[in-house]
Amino acid sequence: MSTASMSIRPAKPRSYSKWFVNALTIVLCILWAIPILWAIVVSLRPRSDALGRGDIWFGQYLTTESYQIVNELAPFFPRIEDGRLTGSYYQNTLQYVLTTLGVQLITIPLAAFAFVHFEFPGKKILFYLILSQMMIPTASLLVPNFVTIREMGLYDTTLAIAIPYFGSAFGTFLMRQAFLEVPRELVEAGQIDGCRWYHLLWHVYLPPSRPTLIAFGLVSVSFHWNSLLWPLVVTSDNARPLTMGLLRFTQLTDIGAQWSLIMAATLIIVAPLLLIFLVFQRQFIQSFMHSGIK
């Protein structure tokens, strides 16, 4: 900034603080964005161009060869063999993420509806029993749950990754809050018209609660897409998801010289969620906000 342009402006005391706030915001944003930008740049470096001192960013030219090599070394994407798709990390991740979400979208509204719409003996106790899942996160129970999964004969299946999350206390709680907002008169009008309980749920309770359901869905998908420790415990070769593929990849490769490959693998697993987030960022941020309001 030149001194000339500074002197033209009238000396307002506010402008300095505003300038400072803007500068601070920009500096923090750049700091926070560097990791992903660097990962992108490094993944596009030629494999032969080892990183060295003084040459942190760009290589001699940019190439996507790392992405191809990654997929040859580990089955991130499916391949066609004998007219059939081979198993891949992407398929496994999609399978357990969508299974979890699909089941949750059925179990959660049903339970939340029961807690809001009916009075019945033991209602409070049952509600607190379900809420216990929010007090003892499933992640902390990985040792006993691993035993259960093995006894059920589910070891190394995508179902094993998904099944502990089929009942969701968090989702039930969130949905119950949304259903409580539905005006009582609307429900009573429906009952007078002779609606059965499933009509009420489908036509009266669910439509105004759709933002909550979408919010929960987004949080659920990103949580499960990103999970590592539980899949690591209950799967092996067949059901290995993307996150575990990346972990194996970082541990198998000779780390010293292969950074372009590792960054390519990293981006392969973050790309879908990150792209969807960039496109629908307003809805995402709204949804995450929504999921936290008590």
């Binding site: 339970a111 129970l141 990985l142 006993p144 039930t172 995402f284």
Partner: protein, 328 residues
């Protein structure tokens, strides 16, 4: 109308089975994967089973009064009562050494990451809670780490921590840093590397809740404060922070639980540090059970973890109940 003979009754009233049927799917999975395993692990924590360590026969290895030395072998599990817990709280045993180190690490890690990411989250929210054309972009830049898996974030940061050409080291050298370079295998700095990644990843996520809170604040108070000539600093300390007390409470619980249960970055960053100086509680549970095959100890550690989580969540529950009562 006469009651159907098979209709269930409770205290003389007819009870419809419908609500129970609607709750059943959720309840069944919660019972199977939360309640049953909680009791199961309490039971298993009283069983000595360590198939990987048949050589461990010294009397002093575990404080196991009444259990014959030769019965602690590879041949099978043995009931030892609360021996694991006695050993864990005795720093002279192997279990005690590990337990105190892991507990210390976990508490330091939780305290630092939670307070730092909450402070940053509040700052971020203050900075981006305004209308400007580029603010949307700023929110994306601060929030996107939430969308990354912890394992990817850790992989990128592993690259930053690389000696010689890692960006983190290069940046530190600009500021005159001459200390150890490879943070993740340095026993004093490895925990720090885990904290940096967690703070970087969580700050933007927690920012969202503060942002939501700030957007619901009444603007009249700020207008009145402006009339009184209150400075930005005074407004922040005297108005914004107190009004966001409930948000802060909620955010702290989210952050604490996340600090306890997300240890995926340790699998990428500090797993090479086999001596375990940077081990966190859940990572230690994983390591004891699935790497070292020390079943009983892993179960006993799980019990401690459940107790710690219950203390945090229940105290928050009573705190927030009390604050709602005070408001009513």
């Amino acid at each position: 109308m006469a009651a159907h003979p098979w209709t269930p009754r409770w205290r003389g009233k007819r009870v419809s089975p419908l609500p129970y049927l609607l709750i059943l799917p959720t309840l069944a999975f919660v019972v199977l994967f939360t309640i049953y395993p909680t009791f199961q692990v309490i039971r298993s924590s009283q069983v000595y089973y360590h198939p990987n360590r048949p050589d461990r026969t010294r009397e002093s290895d575990l404080n196991l009064p009444g259990v014959a030395v030769e019965s602690r072998s590879i041949r099978g599990p043995h009931d030892v009562g609360l021996a694991y817990f006695r050993a864990m709280f005795d720093p002279t045993t192997e279990e005690g050494t590990i337990f105190f180190r892991v507990l210390g690490n976990t508490l330091v890690y939780a305290a630092v990451t939670v307070s730092a990411s909450m402070a940053l989250a509040f700052l971020f929210a203050m900075l981006v809670n305004r209308a400007a054309k580029w603010i949307g972009l700023a929110r994306i830049a601060l929030f996107y780490p939430t969308m990354l898996p912890m394992v990817s974030a850790a992989t990128i940061w592993l690259f930053f921590f690389t000696p010689d050409y890692g960006l983190f080291n290069s940046a530190l050298q600009v500021f005159g840093y001459t200390g150890p370079q490879n943070w993740v295998i340095n026993k004093d700095l490895a925990l720090g590397s885990l904290m940096i990644v967690a703070i970087w990843k969580d700050a933007g996520y927690l920012m969202i809740f503060y942002l939501a809170g700030m957007q619901n604040l009444p603007s009249e108070i700020y207008e009145a404060a402006d009339l009184d000539g209150a400075s930005w600093w005074v407004k922040t300390i005297r108005i914004t922070l107190p009004l966001l007390r409930r948000t802060t409470l909620f955010v702290s619980v989210v952050a604490i639980i996340s600090a306890f249960q997300n240890i995926d970055h340790a699998l990428v960053l500090t797993y090479q540090l086999v001596s375990g100086e940077a081990d966190l509680l859940l990572y230690e549970i994983y390591k004891q059970r699935f790497v070292l095959q020390n079943y009983g100890f892993a179960n006993a550690l799980t019990v401690v973890m459940i107790l710690l989580l219950l203390v945090f969540t229940l105290s928050n529950f009573f705190l927030s109940e009390r604050s709602t009562e005070a408001r009513a």
